[in-house]
């Protein structure tokens, strides 16, 4: 399958997300914390009149404590998406590029670490570099199950 992909970095790993799943990439400045939820829920953020539920992707994948987001900090990029009627902002390390890829998605080779196993759907290769293909709905759905467990 070919198309436009967003290439980014999450928890030190290169990933690719189909642009159809993404609404925007924004820089978040201030979060309202949400108590009594799993650690990967970083908080709520206002995006114009919408409220985003912000998920710290690195925290969800590797279980590390979530990032602190302070007012005025610059480097907090979040991928904004709408999944089943709710708006989410997914915090990523950084955005690299948006580019079109013509080669099909390739199956994963080698043994994945258990942290990544549930998320990586395949590999997208761009200029000779491999990127894990993530699907945001699946990613968010899995985040719910972490809580249930």
């Amino acid at each position: 399958m070919s198309g436009l992909y967003l290439f980014a970095r999450v928890a030190g790993t290169d990933i690719a997300i189909r642009t159809e799943e993404i609404e925007a990439v924004v820089r978040l400045s201030e979060l309202s914390p949400v108590p009594v939820v799993p650690g990967h829920v970083a908080g709520l953020a206002a995006l114009r009149s919408r409220v985003l539920t912000v998920i710290d992707a690195a925290a969800q994948i590797s279980g590390t404590p979530p990032r602190k987001i302070e007012a005025g900090s610059e480097e907090n990029y979040a991928v904004v998406c709408d999944v089943s009627g709710h708006s989410y902002g997914i915090l990523i390390d950084r955005v690299e590029d948006i580019r079109s890829v013509t080669t099909p998605v390739m199956p994963i080779c080698g043994k994945l670490s258990s942290a990544w196993k549930p998320y990586a759907l395949g590999v997208v290769e761009e200029e000779g570099r491999p990127y894990f293909l993530l699907s945001l709905p699946i990613f968010l759905d899995h985040g719910l199950h972490i809580q249930a467990a």
Partner: protein, 802 residues
């Protein structure tokens, strides 16, 4: 083609919805030409469109219905109930098929044939019976006709179809504008703008506010939409249950938020079903109760401030409060005493008790209560309030008060652990400071209880729920009395309450909702996202006790006034089956006693409890022991000295019994009859009960000595002495053994010399004959038990006085 098909389906579905009331009205008045035309037109349109779209099944169905209707229109047949039902069936099938087109399901077409056959058969019967005089008409369903008329009028206004998403986008856009305006306003305030700029901004601000209002209106829908399905439902249910119901619908033109309409549909349907199923009686029962045969059901809507009030009133049998209370007691949710302590209003509200609904029997007994807790939960979830007014035998009115719109609710913003949260205003009953004099907070084994004006509530600090430390600050903390899901209020302690704001609420993401304590999220005017708390969820998360505590609510204060004329009495069922009451203060406790502990002598029954024998008020037969455990429920009664065991079949509850009996009818242990909530109940006479028992074991006021002067005489030894011992006297056999000067009543046979004993002691003489020998003879017949004991006691008294 697809677009055409979709249009056809949505148009058909809409017409079907609108037509439901037309058909019901038609059944009530089959001669109404206008209604007939309307129905006919529907089938005609469907037939026309589906020929074009190539939908043969629609065509066959609508064609058959059209044929029948055209005959009715031509006056060749009547619209009898059977035919109308058949037409309904065809309409339902068309609705199903429309659905199937959207979902792509397939439906067997065998049923189509059956439907058409049925319709034709009904039609034929109706045509044949045409010659006969018409039957008395079914009660008129005015509401349906009225509704149909209203809809006709409404159709005149020009409308367009818009996808909901477009309206939502518009709404979001306006919300953005409002937020942007607020920000500009803040900036302007800081920078001291020139007056003309301020004026211009004011105008812009006003325009934005107007626009927000207008856009909000696009979300409004006439309550009529809620009402359209009711006539049909009432008709179908009424037929199914053999009840005649006159339905009146009122206020269909009131408008409320579209989402709100969706949320109210289910509770409303549930309440109406309950009304018809359990509230309204069958025609026979109604006739017997002196009511008109047809039950009345009124569903009305009106706007009251920023709320919509929907009322469902029936003139059925009302809620049997006592039956509900009994069920509550039986289910172990409250004790009889607690239930009695409740005011009438609180008792009525017991039908909302969760857990009550699961007992299937409740419907049979109480008439209501199935799922009412769910109805209430649903109404409260959207910030509404449900209230009841029931009059036994006269009917029930249920009022639903719901906010006009779901998305904008009045809320309170509060702060706990340094974070702001919102809570719907409707969930909060009262706010107090913890230094208020009417509040006492006590901690017991980790649990916190707050007592406000002598009512006890569970208390929980919000910081503990959300796991944040309490922020030290000057000033008292705030206590909010909030409603929980089970209707039992509790106290939520928070840092402080910030302010009151109209909040635009949206659903929170599933991962947030899963925490269980949030109801949604909101973006207040300051632009900082906030979570909306779910009061019921917090109570659950904090595992506050669910059992309903005997809260002496304010209403009971009114009842207290009438307490002086009544007393609390325990209501029970005798072993023999009668219902009686006994003064509660006499009952020390209620105990289950094994049947084997009961014994009886020829005249009296007794029971062995903890190694002691107690008199029993009744004899107990083996078959009266309850169930397999062969235990008998006993009331342990007590006067100052004695204890009686009163075996009963069952303890019912506690009732308030008037001090003055409604009818005096003293007989045995019964003093008379009292009316308790309309039932005649026999009242136990405590005096008679204790008086009827033998004197065994009664300690006499002071132990006195009796001197039996003839120890050698066997009558004295074997009959008199035991009687005296029984009566509580010390018996001394030999007067010589008595030290000089000690007291004692001397008992001696008449005619015997009393000199050895007459050292100042009183003497009671006994004679064997019944008749006294003369006026001077003060001796007593020796089998005159009462006379004998009386004389001894009198002699003792004389002695004491001396």
């Amino acid at each position: 083609m697809d677009e055409l098909l979709n249009d056809f389906v949505s148009e058909t579905q809409e017409s079907l919805e609108a037509l439901a009331s037309v058909v019901v009205a038609l059944e009530a008045d089959p001669t109404d030409r206008k209604l007939l035309d309307e129905l006919f037109r529907f089938f005609h349109t469907v037939k026309g469109s589906c020929g074009f779209l190539n939908l043969p099944r629609f065509e066959r169905l609508s064609h058959a219905a059209e044929d029948v209707l055209s005959d009715i229109r031509a006056g060749e047949a009547r619209a009898d109930p059977a035919t109308i039902t058949a037409v309904f069936a065809v309409m339902d099938r068309i609705a199903l098929l429309s659905e199937a087109i959207i979902t792509g399901d397939s439906l067997s077409d065998l049923d189509d044939d059956q439907l058409i056959q049925t319709l034709k058969l009904c039609h034929k019967m109706a045509s044949l019976s045409e010659a006969q005089p018409p039957e008395p008409e079914a009660p008129k369903v005015d509401a349906a006709a009225q509704l149909a008329e209203n809809q006709g009028k409404a159709g005149v206004a020009r409308t367009i179809r818009l996808p909901i998403t477009l309206i939502d986008q518009l709404m979001n856009g306006v919300s953005d504008m409002v937020l942007a305006r607020n920000e500009v306003a803040r900036k302007l305030r800081d920078s001291m703008p020139p007056p003309e700029l301020e004026t211009a901004f004011e105008r812009l601000s006003g325009c934005i506010a107007d626009m927000r209002d207008t856009i909000s209106k696009t979300r409004m829908q006439r309550v009529e939409r809620l009402f359209v399905a009711i006539p049909r439902m009432v008709r179908d249910l009424g037929r199914e249950l053999g009840k005649t119901i006159e339905l009146t619908l009122d206020g269909g033109d009131v408008e409320m938020d579209r989402e709100m309409v969706e949320m109210v549909v289910d509770p409303l349907t549930h309440i109406i079903r309950n009304s018809i199923d359990h509230g309204i009686e069958t025609p026979e029962q109604r006739r017997a109760a002196g009511k008109s045969e047809a039950g009345h059901l009124l569903v009305s809507a009106r706007q009251s401030g920023s709320q919509i009030v929907i009322e469902i009133a029936d003139d059925g049998r009302g809620i049997d409060v006592d039956a509900v209370a009994r069920k509550i007691v039986a289910a172990g949710l409250m004790t009889a005493q607690e239930v009695v302590a409740l005011s009438d209003r609180a008792k009525l509200e017991l039908i909302f008790t969760p857990g009550l609904s699961t007992a299937a029997q409740v419907t049979a007994v109480s008439g209501r209560g199935v799922g009412m807790d769910i109805v209430r939960a649903n109404i409260e979830r959207i910030g509404g309030v449900i209230s009841l007014q029931s009059e036994a035998g006269k009917g029930l009115t249920i009022s639903l008060r719901v906010p006009l719109t779901l998305t904008i609710i009045p809320g309170l913003i509060l702060n706990a652990g340094g974070l702001n949260f919102a809570i719907p205003r409707s969930a909060v009953i009262e706010i107090l400071h913890d230094n208020n004099a009417t509040v006492t907070i006590s901690r017991l084994g980790g649990g916190v209880t707050a007592t406000i004006r002598s009512t006890r509530y569970s208390m929980i600090d919000l910081e503990d729920v959300i796991g944040l430390p309490k922020v030290e600050r000057v000033g008292p903390r705030s206590l909010m009395l909030v409603r929980s899901a089970n209707g039992k209020p509790y106290i939520l302690g928070v840092g402080y309450v910030e302010n009151h704001e109209e909040l635009v609420v949206r659903p929170a993401a599933p991962v947030v909702m899963a925490a269980g304590i949030y109801a949604g999220m909101t973006l207040p005017d300051n632009g900082q996202p906030m979570l909306l708390l779910d009061a019921g969820g917090i109570a659950q998360a904090a595992q506050l006790p669910v059992t309903v505590e005997a809260v002496r609510d304010r209403d009971t204060a009114e009842e207290a006034k009438s307490q002086s004329e009544t007393y609390s009495a325990l209501r029970f069922v005798e072993l023999s089956g009668e219902e009686r009451v006994i003064r509660l203060s006499l009952v020390e406790r209620v105990e289950d006693v094994p049947f084997s502990a009961f014994g009886q002598t020829s005249a009296h029954a007794h029971v062995l409890i903890d190694g002691r024998l107690f008199p029993s008020a009744h004899k107990v037969k083996a078959d009266q022991a309850s169930g397999a455990n062969t235990e008998i429920t006993c009331l342990r009664l007590r006067d100052e000295y004695r204890e009686i065991c009163y075996p009963v079949r069952d303890v019912l509850d506690i009732a308030n019994v008037p001090v003055h009996l409604d009818m005096k009818a003293a007989h045995g242990v019964v003093a008379g009859i009292a009316l308790i909530e309309g039932a005649q109940v026999e009242v136990i006479d405590g005096f008679a009960l204790f008086a009827s028992l033998s004197h065994d074991g009664t300690p006499s006021p002071m132990t006195s000595r009796c001197v039996v002067a003839d120890p050698a005489d066997s009558w004295h030894r074997e009959i008199l002495a035991p009687l005296l011992v029984q009566a509580g006297y010390d018996v001394v056999w030999d007067v010589e053994a008595l030290p000089e000067g000690t007291e004692g009543v001397v008992l001696v046979s008449a005619g015997r010399d009393t000199t050895p004993y007459s050292t100042g002691r009183p003497v009671v003489r006994l004679r064997p004959g019944t008749l006294a020998e003369g006026p001077e003879d003060d001796s007593i017949y020796r089998y005159d038990r009462a006379g004998l004991l009386g004389a001894i006691s009198a002699a003792c008294d004389k002695r004491n006085v001396a």
